[in-house]
């Protein structure tokens, strides 16, 4: 478990530094999702091959909350999907890495800058895998603020109806949207009951506990049910930097000066 925690800390540091130097990035939502991303990519759940990104039997991963893509870029570069030199172009004019995922980037399946479409696309992939009897799992990471989009619920119904048990949705339930807290803006609760009502199996976990994320993913690997799986990962926006945690202004603020120094200090790894 410690290697995942250490890796997640390292990813947070990379995201922090890149956001600071490029003066662009969505730190809050990246930090809330990083532990889940690290568990997916380094915990042995997703099957992929960095030297063959288009490998037919790879698991499909969609970062539907595309604004957290900087964390995914760090991971894809670390795993060898892209080079570090390429990664370093983030934020520069002409870079192939934008602020949101692009299907042209090795390791990224679809464009997901626009919120609300990843789950439907993932459901289409899961349906195709079932039709063709491929051993492919599809995982979609959603933001909770994203779940205001109606297309999400169209896909929730579709996946439940079609028994897409090879589809896993993970909601980064940090309780915040861009400018507000979700329960103040437009109440999402009772959140998981809505998914259950549409035929999903639901697990609620601490999205910063590698033990709980691991257990949930293990469960996702070995299920006998016909239902798709929702992992409702309770997280903290800005996780890891105290003054960012749960603070509304850190959706896409860029740290500098004293705040950057403090963030670096708080993210210093100690064994």
């Amino acid at each position: 478990m410690i290697h995942l925690e250490k890796k997640a800390n390292w990813v947070r540091n990379q995201v922090l530094e890149m956001t600071a130097s490029a003066k662009k990035g969505h730190i809050g939502g990246a930090f809330s999702a990083i532990d889940v991303l690290v568990a997916l990519y380094y915990g042995g759940f997703l099957r992929f091959n960095p030297s063959e990104p288009a490998w037919e039997d790879r698991d499909r991963f969609i970062l539907s909350k595309g604004h957290s893509t900087l964390a995914l870029y760090v991971i894809l570069a670390d795993l060898g999907f892209t080079s570090w030199d390429a990664f370093k172009t983030y934020g520069q004019n002409g870079s192939f890495l934008g602020a949101h995922p692009d299907h042209a980037i090795p390791g990224i399946e679809v464009d997901s800058g626009s919120l609300g479409n990843g789950l439907g696309m993932g459901a289409g992939m899961a349906l195709a895998a079932k039709m063709d009897q491929k051993p492919v799992r599809t995982v979609v990471l959603l933001g909770d603020g994203e779940c205001y989009e109606g297309a999400i619920w169209e896909a929730v119904m579709f996946a439940g109806h079609h028994g897409l048990n090879n589809l896993i949705a993970i909601v980064d339930r940090n309780g915040q949207c861009v400018t507000d807290y979700t329960e103040d803006c437009n109440r999402l609760e009772p959140f998981t009951a809505k998914w259950e009502a549409c035929g999903w199996e639901v697990l609620s976990i601490d999205g910063h506990s590698f033990a709980e994320i691991g257990q949930a993913l293990d469960h996702g690997r070995n299920r006998s049910t016909q239902r798709p799986l929702l992992i409702n990962a309770k997280t903290i926006k800005g996780k890891g930097v105290s003054f960012m945690e749960g603070a509304l202004e850190w959706h896409h603020s860029v740290p500098n000066g004293e705040k950057l120094v403090r963030a670096r200090r708080e993210l210093t790894w100690t064994e």
Binding site: R60, H103, E109, V110, D111, S114, G116, N117, L119, G120, M121, G122, A123, G124, M125, A126, L127, A128, A129, M131, D132, T138, G150, A151, E154, A155, M157, F158
Partner: protein, 322 residues
């Protein structure tokens, strides 16, 4: 073109929608990658498709955004996906999703039922009179607008064989055949077909209005006016080279369409003329008003000045013929 079917031996349904789906059925029988998704829509020939190819059919329900997203996922996994809905809904409700799948150049083919005013008294919500204008903004999205059953069947092939996503807008009902099956390949490969040659004026039309325009050429002939007629089957990209040769040395041009003036065929031809630095006089006949009240298509045409008599009069005025 890799032909799976001898076009001339194929039976073409008189119903313009059935003609499309019959051809899609033939394609899907031979290619298991082909999927048909509907937003809870029916058509006579769809029943046979559903019965015989159930593994290649999904009714997504009345949810057009999800329709396109599911299609995107399927296409990413190697399927060739046709999606079917009511034209204004399957273009405008899910326009942004279409923008994204077009950017990803996915093998998705949108079939919009109810081109132009074909839904008649169902009203403005059901009329597709802005769809060409918005869909042609999506770079790489082919647009087909069949005028009869032969071109409708051809659209299914053009969609399937062509590169990248497409949108076909289909009318409702049975119309006289304009094209012989020999023209099929020309429609697919050239996108523009000359129906009549004429020395006084050339009419350019698309979709159902080609039927109207054909009647107008006859009315004009009775007035000793020789009008040519071009069916613009492929609207995006506009086949400039083919259009150039079809128009030839026409002295005057008239576009006739059942679409808002902004963004439709008239706009395209205007742009094309400017780009070609051609000074040929052009009259654009299109929809210029919101219908007041409800009525069938002939009633709507009269109200909007798109009936044959009004169109003939407008063209004669343009030609300075009293």
């Amino acid at each position: 073109m890799d032909r799976m079917i001898d076009f001339e031996s194929v039976h073409i349904s008189e119903d313009i929608r059935d003609a499309f789906f019959d051809q899609l059925h033939r394609i899907a029988e031979k290619d298991a990658r082909v999927m048909l998704l509907t937003a809870d829509m029916s058509a006579f020939s769809l029943e046979r498709y559903k019965r015989e190819l159930p593994q290649q059919y999904v009714n997504v329900g009345i949810a057009e955004q999800n329709l396109i997203n599911i299609a995107a996922g399927l296409a990413k996994m190697g399927k060739k996906v046709f999606v079917y809905g009511i034209a204004p809904f399957v273009t405008m409700r899910c326009y942004e999703q279409i923008k994204i799948v077009t950017e990803m150049n996915l093998d998705i083919h949108i079939i919009g039922a109810g081109a132009g005013l074909s839904y008649g008294s169902d009203g403005y919500t059901h009329h597709a009179v802005q769809d060409i204008g918005i869909m042609r903004l999506l770079r790489g999205l082919r647009i087909y607008n069949p005028s009869d059953s032969v071109s409708s069947a051809a659209a299914a092939y053009a969609a399937y064989y062509g590169h990248g996503p497409s949108y076909t807008r289909i009318d409702k009902g049975r119309f006289p055949l304009i094209h012989g099956s020999a023209v099929w390949e020309r429609l697919i490969q050239k996108g523009v077909v000359s129906i009549n040659e004429g020395t006084d004026v050339t009419l350019l039309s698309t979709g159902f209005m080609v039927q109207q325009a054909l009647a107008i050429t006859e009315a004009l002939a009775a007035q000793s006016i020789q009008a040519g007629l071009i069916d613009v089957f492929q609207l995006n990209p506009l086949c400039a080279e083919e259009l150039n040769s079809a128009i030839g040395n026409s002295k005057k041009l008239v576009t006739i369409e059942e679409h808002e003036r902004a963004g439709g065929l008239g706009t395209m031809v205007s742009e094309w003329l400017v780009d070609q630095r051609r000074m040929t006089p052009l009259k654009r006949v299109a929809i210029d008003a919101q219908p007041q009240g409800y009525g069938d298509r002939p009633w709507l045409h009269q109200m909007l000045g798109l009936d044959t008599a009004s169109l003939t009069r407008k063209i004669m005025e343009f030609l300075n013929v009293k």
